[in-house]
């Protein structure tokens, strides 16, 4: 090793097989006799399917089957995502046929599937499927879809509005106020995981079990959906998520293709694999965001906030995705807008409208990203208007710790946190004052520096009550863990929140080892297999540490009780004479008398094992966890950027984060989450945009046109921490999976506008060099 060069830490062992090429991702799986599927996809945004001639494709070399929508028997039902709405919301269900039924509604919609001996042959034959389409008028932009004469995406509905909700709280004070407003447009983006989606389905006739491997984030809910869409009788469905190369929320939606694969395996009685390629991923995996928010913020002359009024419009694409539906984005934007601020009045209208675009789904941060983009954008405007330093303006309005727990203007409970301290910590870590001086000096020499601030909260690990309130009936809101102590004293902890590379195994091991006072080496974590893990919601919305971790902690307490019960039987003592401590059960009166895990395991599996009244032999415990509250993490981001005046190029010079996500089980994992999500947020702010033309044709169907930030575009991210435990969750745990991307677009956009000293009518991301230059020319 060269002197002075520090080696990067190798990271948790869990990642080693993945980075050494020893992972087993979906496409690495091979089942004997396996066939390969390729989908034929619509080239039209809106068209009727007149005829399909699959004769040549069926006759092509190596083809086992070609199916169209018409070939699917009636028992293959469309994906139907329900929402139970209250009086303040309306929702219209869209049926999403798993293969287009007579009509296509977006470019890339699956119309037919070809199954052949190899993917090459399947693609050869797919090109031979002859489909006659009658193109229909299409609508691509959300605003256009609401127009009076707009083509309707679903004939059965009176207009294209799929979801609408309103929210009103408080009333703005009547005394004179200043107000600022603006329109904020977040592009349609996607998660762009390294591994695309896909599925492998295999029917095991002996076991009467249909096994579906998929990179899904929601194995149990996907299993529910497969059962809902297919008539399976006594056939069990088992979903297995193997190693997964990134999910980011995109893989928490069920794909119609997954249902088709399950059907194919049953129908053909052969395993069938489909590996989505990048082109398909852009055409037909889930997109996200595509939202515009118009908002107005009112304050007193001292900058104290009086009220916020906002209207959000989300371009939801052609169908409502499973399990969260098109309601997700408008509902989340509503809850995110008030942020960490005291806001006496809030009025909100949000809608999701159907267009002839690919459906949107969850992507890391969901509508929470729009919250700070709008609120922090308006705060900057207010600061400029009032001549108050933007950091000071925020400090004046943050909810103080004395108010905790607080209820936000959107009705969300903020359980804990010290937001003013977090802001002060960030300012100190960054040297905010020095940044302002540097900015002033640079300006004299003609260089444009800008500072962006994002203060925000991140509701994490949402519980059952939140999903019931939102009407999201397909999500239980609970998670679960099962602990099994085996004969050798090893614990298998099976948890319902799978990993997509976030190193939950490592974090869960740590959490459990600390809780039980045992070594991490005696724990094995099982994830991502519905046959091995108990039923639960899955990994999304920053829930795996709160939900999965909470379930583990609860199960650990039950395990202690169970161990005590076995020890009581072994010693013939009452349970209340014993206690569990640091990996062993001890007698309270004679603490040197101990049985450790290995001894208890041997006893419980040995010839003298008792059959306890309330349990089977062996030591197995189970816990389903519904977090008593939805814990709220918080963070502040500060970004320093330079804008090159004559080209509009933006360079991020410094990026400082203060994060409070509660007690950190795995600090390296926490920082990895923050860094990765900020990189994606910088992507949304400066690079990434899925573009459709006005007719609904997708123009960005490859990574040549959809620009992801590369290593050289991401600055070193400096992170400092506060750890405020939640008073309401097991272990005081909170989540952190999305934080970075919630703040980054706001911080970057704010910094660019600060550099240019402009407040355009519309802030439109990504801030491409050309858009930035246009802003600066318009300002001059």
């Amino acid at each position: 090793m060269a002197e002075g060069v520090t080696q990067p830490s190798p990271g948790p062992e869990e990642l080693h097989p993945l980075v050494l090429g020893r992972g087993r991702f979906l496409d690495d799986l091979h089942v004997p006799g396996m066939l390969h599927a390729a989908f034929v996809r619509s080239p039209h945004p809106a068209a009727r399917i007149e005829t399909i001639d699959a004769g040549a494709a069926r006759a092509a070399r190596g083809v086992a089957a070609v199916l169209t929508g018409a070939d699917l028997p009636g028992e293959v039902r469309p994906i139907r995502t329900r929402i139970a709405t209250d009086s303040r919301a309306t929702y219209r269900c869209t049926d999403w046929p798993v293969l287009a039924a007579g009509e296509v509604r977006y470019v890339g919609e699956a119309v037919a599937v070809v199954v052949a001996e190899s993917r090459y042959l399947a693609e050869d034959a797919a090109a031979l499927v002859d489909i006659a389409y009658a193109p229909q008028p299409a609508v691509s932009a959300a605003e256009a879809a609401l127009g009076p004469g707009a083509p309707r995406v679903h004939d059965g509905l009176s207009d294209n509005r799929l979801f609408a909700a309103t929210l009103e709280a408080g009333s703005p004070a009547a005394d004179p106020v200043v107000s600022v407003k603006g329109r904020f447009r977040h592009p349609r983006v996607t998660g762009a995981a390294i591994e695309n989606c896909g599925a492998l389905a295999d029917f095991r006739a002996n076991e009467r079990e249909l096994v579906l491997w998929s990179g899904t984030q929601i194995p149990h809910l996907l299993r529910d959906l497969i059962r809902d869409c297919l008539d399976l009788g006594d056939i069990a469905v088992r979903v297995i998520a193997p190693d997964v190369g990134g999910g980011f929320g995109i893989k928490m939606q069920a794909l119609p293709e997954e249902v088709v694969l399950a059907h194919l395996a049953l129908r053909l009685r052969r395993p069938v694999k489909w590996t989505e390629d990048r082109l398909e991923n852009f055409l037909a995996s889930f997109h996200a965001r595509d939202a515009v928010v118009e908002a107005e913020l009112a304050a007193g002359p001292d900058g104290i906030l009086r009220g916020l009024r906002a209207r959000a419009l989300v371009n939801a694409g052609a169908y409502s995705s499973f399990p969260l539906s098109v309601a997700l984005e408008p509902l989340t934007i509503a809850s995110a807008l008030p942020g960490p601020y005291r806001l006496p009045a809030f009025a909100y209208e949000g809608a999701a409208v159907a267009t002839h675009r690919c459906p949107v789904g969850a992507f890391r941060g969901v509508g929470f990203t729009l919250g700070p983009m709008v609120m922090e954008g308006l705060m900057d405007r207010l600061a400029r208007k009032l001549g108050i330093d933007p950091l000071e303006l925020r400090a004046r309005n943050l909810i103080p710790p004395a108010d905790m727990p607080a209820t936000s203007a959107a009705g969300a409970l903020y359980d804990s946190g010290d937001y003013p301290a977090l802001l002060a910590l960030t300012a100190r870590a960054a040297g905010y004052g020095a940044w302002r001086e540097e900015q002033a000096c640079a300006r004299i020499s003609g260089r444009l520096l800008g500072i962006g601030i994002a203060c925000f909260v991140e509701p994490t690990g949402m519980n059952r009550a939140v999903y019931r309130r939102r009407g999201m009936v397909h999500v239980p809101g609970t998670d679960a863990a099962r602990l099994t102590l085996d004969r050798n004293g090893q614990i298998e902890a099976a948890v319902s929140t799978p990993t997509q590379g976030q190193t939950q195994r490592h974090a869960f091991k740590r959490l459990l080892a600390q809780k039980l006072g045992i070594s991490e080496a005696s724990i094995r974590i099982a994830l991502g297999d519905t046959a091995r893990t108990p039923y639960g919601s899955g990994t999304f919305a920053s829930r795996s540490m709160v939900g999965g971790g909470g379930a583990l902690l609860t199960a650990a307490e039950r395990l202690e009780q169970r161990l005590i019960a076995f020890a009581a039987a072994r010693w013939n003592l009452p349970a209340n004479a014993l206690r569990y401590e640091a990996g062993a059960v001890a007698q309270i009166e004679a603490p040197w008398e101990k049985l450790d895990l290995a001894a208890l395991a041997a006893f419980a599996h040995g010839p003298d094992a008792p059959v306890l009244a309330d349990a089977e032999p062996g030591i197995v415990v189970h816990a389903t966890y519904d977090s008593p509250i939805t814990p709220v993490s918080a963070a502040v981001h500060l970004a320093l950027v330079e804008v090159e005046k004559d080209t509009g190029k933006v360079r991020v010079l410094r990026y400082v984060v203060a994060e409070d996500c509660g007690p950190m089980v795995d600090p390296a994992g926490v920082e990895g989450q923050i860094r990765g999500a900020i990189a994606q947020g910088i992507g949304s702010a400066l690079f990434e945009e899925i573009i459709y033309d006005a007719e609904g044709q997708l123009l960005t169907a490859s990574l040549l046109d959809y620009l992801l930030p590369s290593a050289t575009d991401i600055p070193a991210i400096e992170i400092v921490h506060m750890e405020t435990a939640s008073p309401g969750t097991a272990g005081g745990l909170k989540g952190v999976g999305e934080s970075g991307i919630i703040g980054a677009p706001a911080a970057i956009a704010g910094a660019v506008l600060d550099a240019l000293e402009v407040d355009p009518e519309e802030v439109r991301l990504p801030l491409t060099p050309e858009r930035v230059r246009t802003l600066s020319v318009d300002a001059a």
Binding site: A127, D277, S710, D713, P769
Partner: protein, 294 residues
């Protein structure tokens, strides 16, 4: 994203390759580094029935400097040039440009000939060949050897003067004039992307400090990389100066025919061309005057 079926043949000699090309000209594609052709095949945008893989033809690779300049074999990898310590002295502009071509992994496979034959208007090699007055040697069974000047070689977007049965074998670059100052600037969304616009400059001067044969090439701003002849004419024979450079850059920006695409409008490209041309002229001057050594 799997290619349509094709036959693959890997000739061991140039002669074999030319025979194959003669036999299959219209149905064949030459496979060099595959960094462009690979994706085209996978997306079925190219569906040749036969691929002629020239990677086994050793005589097509390598650098040969002599008094007539530098000859670079078509199969020479970009990374071979990048790693060659002699290049910066022989051809400073080429050495400046190579790191801007895609990413190292792509440069490890991508070839000079592939880049020239593909003729992307935003690529560095066509601009280099145009500015440096290179000649390209093509060979075929029907026409024998043809030496084509760069400005005749690049016809338009993805189109060259190569006939379907011709193989590009080498590019010949005349020696760098003594005392020349070079600059190469490009503006891309991310490092390694094709440029939205780029400018290359070579300045030389006579004993009296007057510019002789100034060269300015803009790329990524039209159907092909092209010399800004009117801007060059403004600069020829005069003493260099910043004011003049701005005017020449503005003129150069009127000599191009930029296009709109997803990443930039034509208007923005024209603007960038002027900005880059002006900066590149200044940099080249500083290098010519020995005030800049990077």
């Amino acid at each position: 994203m799997k290619p349509a079926p094709f036959a693959w043949c890997a000739p061991a000699t140039l002669d074999e390759a030319l025979d194959l090309l003669a036999g299959h000209a219209d149905a064949a594609r030459i496979l060099a580094g595959g960094q462009t052709l690979g994706p085209l095949l996978n997306m079925r945008l190219a569906t040749p029935s036969i691929l002629i893989d020239i990677n086994g033809i050793g005589e097509l690779a390598g650098l040969h400097p002599d008094s007539a300049g530098l000859t670079i074999g078509a199969l020479t990898r970009q990374s071979t040039l990048e790693d060659d310590p002699k290049l910066a002295a022989l051809q400073p502009l080429i050495a400046m440009a190579i790191p801007h071509i895609a990413h190292r992994a792509i440069r490890n496979r991508g070839t000079v000939g592939g880049s020239l034959a593909h003729a992307d208007p935003a690529a560095e090699w066509p601009a280099l060949a145009t500015l440096l007055g290179a000649h390209l040697l093509a060979r075929s069974k029907s026409r024998g050897r043809r030496l084509i000047g760069a400005e005749e070689f690049f016809i338009t977007h993805l189109t060259t003067a190569l006939a379907p049965d011709e193989l590009l074998c080498e590019v010949r670059v005349p020696p760098s004039p003594p005392g020349a100052g070079y600059a190469m600037l490009e503006f891309a969304r991310r490092h390694g992307d094709f440029a939205l616009a780029g400018a290359m400059v070579r300045l030389t001067s006579d004993a009296g400090g007057k510019l002789t044969d100034p060269r300015l090439v803009l790329f990524g701003t039209g159907r092909r990389a092209s010399r800004a002849r009117r801007a060059e004419a403004m600069l020829a024979g005069v003493s260099a100066g910043t004011a003049l450079f701005a005017a020449a850059a503005a003129t150069a920006a009127t000599e191009i025919d930029p296009y709109d695409d997803l990443h930039a409008s034509a208007e923005y490209r024209r603007h960038l061309a002027a900005v880059l041309a002006s900066r590149a002229l200044e940099e080249a001057l500083a290098r010519m005057n020995g005030k800049r050594h990077d």
